[in-house]
Symmetry: C4
Subunit: 194 residues, 4 copies
């Protein structure tokens, strides 16, 4: 079974998730700068989630590039990832509309944690389908980013109840680390073709 439709479906879901978050930017009643103020925290949380969904799309793109055959398990591991990503607009809006309060910030981290775990499970399914000489296994190597991100999210959840600002800083930090595209896969794929 080809992977084109899996890619197209995932792209569709992520594209829609990115754009429906915009619907949470409620049109202000007035036409003054002050009337824009309540939109600002929602806007900031939108920027953060846009970057996260962009990272997931980007890395998903790379990971599937190293995937040959799509099995039933990969299909469901992919849907599982999309499920957690689909909750991001909800947690983004709750966090933004409540000025990054403790519980919404913690739930935002919990959904990121579950998405990170789902991404890892999908990666393992693809590696398992490729057997012992897995191209993807060599490509991800020690996978320190994939393994450390969930730990940071896990830490951010209790931290959010002490200092929501620190939890936000951790979410931003992880995003910045991931913004560097996953050149490992590009490199291994390049050497594989060479």
């Amino acid at each position: 079974m080809g992977k084109n439709r899996l890619e197209a479906f995932s792209d569709g879901v992520i594209a829609i998730l990115i754009t429906i978050m915009v619907l949470e930017l409620k049109v202000p009643q007035g036409v003054t700068l002050a009337s824009l103020a309540p939109v600002l925290p929602v806007f900031l949380s939108y920027v953060l989630s846009f970057v996260y969904l962009g990272i997931y799309w980007n890395n998903h793109h790379h990971m599937l590039h190293a995937c040959g055959r799509v099995t039933g398990s990969i299909l469901w591991a992919n849907l599982h990832l999309l499920f957690w990503l689909s909750l991001i607009p909800f947690t983004t809006a709750w966090m933004g509309e409540n000025h990054f309060a403790a519980l919404p910030s913690a739930l935002y981290g919990a959904v990121l944690l579950m998405a990170g775990i789902a991404y890892y499970l999908l990666q393992q399914q693809i590696i398992a389908s490729q057997g012992t000489d897995s191209l993807l296994r060599r490509a991800v190597g020690t996978d320190w980013k994939g393994k450390s991100s969930p730990i940071v999210y896990l830490a951010a959840i209790p931290i959010a109840f002490v200092s929501p600002a620190l939890a936000q800083a951790l979410y931003v930090a992880v995003a910045l680390v991931w913004l560097v595209p996953d050149r490992r896969i590009e490199r291994v794929l390049g050497s594989g073709e060479a």
Copy 2:
């Protein structure tokens, strides 16, 4: 006529249906755990419908894989299926926001029933277009899952008025049965290629 555009269109509609259900997860007013409570039943109904739409996407994927030429009848049978699937976000929200009350639970089952029938009609159209030596006919075999699911939905509709919880349990049970991907088609396709 190629089937790529049919697949892409169906994927697009299903991807959008899955994600607009998220819009029914209304952002709570407060920031306490108690304020999250009203979201819980809507969330649970979202999970159930996410799984159902995932199953339809997955099986649709397999079924079209066993389909060669797309006729006008197949196009319309496919749109007919998408029509019933498009009502799932509505019935999901009605059921979730009313804590799985009797009538919404029955209507949820009625839409699942119509979608199941539409899926069956689409399958028959594809088989008819393939003639006596239909690959898909051999692939689906006795098709006990496709034939028994509508019967369960049909039973769940009156049951919902007696015990909505039992109707829900039936919906969950059918979903679990379908979660096993349709290996029949994979197998027959595999042997066909061999």
Copy 3:
């Protein structure tokens, strides 16, 4: 320039239009049959518009199949068609929520009229790009459906102010005529390939 991206973009827009109409099916407050009653006219107008958008997608599919090269004029003629189609969810909701009142029914027809004209202009652009031996020109032939539909819509607009029900009947009648897929193009393409 290839036509794949034009098809994919049009499919995306039509898929989204079909599904955002579902958002107008507002979740009822109660859980009784009576609470479902206000949804019924919106549902009926949804069915009509679903069929119309399905017809456009279907015929668009066929028409682009007979189109080779995509020019800038074709791109814009296609966007012009998508613009009028994009207004269908608005007119559908206005008509449905107001129980098929006169002015909303007339506006519904006006948007169908403009979409029909836009479809005709797109067809002419494709024919013009193909020169004197246009495959599409031969395929559409006298194009009695394409030419008579706008006349029916044009008649339905004033009729809606006298009898909205008659205007609706005309919209349904045109939809039924178009439900028969455009076999002309299939036939000419088939003979062209033979």
Copy 4:
């Protein structure tokens, strides 16, 4: 890495942006012409933004046609463009619902300015990836449209506070200039193939 998925994802986002703007056309309460009146300015701003998003889709289409390999930098430059485009539904609705008031009109121009800059940066990334003999560099030539549009937007922002109508006129003028498709790339690509 192929560019198909980049194109498909961008098409998906732009298709969704175009269609969710329709959701801002709020269904009027009454059924008279007067009840339609408040929709008119929102409709006019919708038309303007539809044309802008159509222009971006069109030119994006052409630009990626002249792009061979997709690098990580191109992926992120593309997401950066999509981010600014994703704000257009918000600024469109704010401007339309407030009858083209000063601040919303200025913000509308600011988002167009950022989108224009993001488009330019994406173009530069693609040119940089192609080296000294860049096909795209030759295709865009002096790029007077790409360079002058941001200047007009920049001028329109302060002008909006003096005369919102003049700012609108500038937005319309730039859109009209861009409506002419980018034949430069078509020409250079054509000669390159010859």
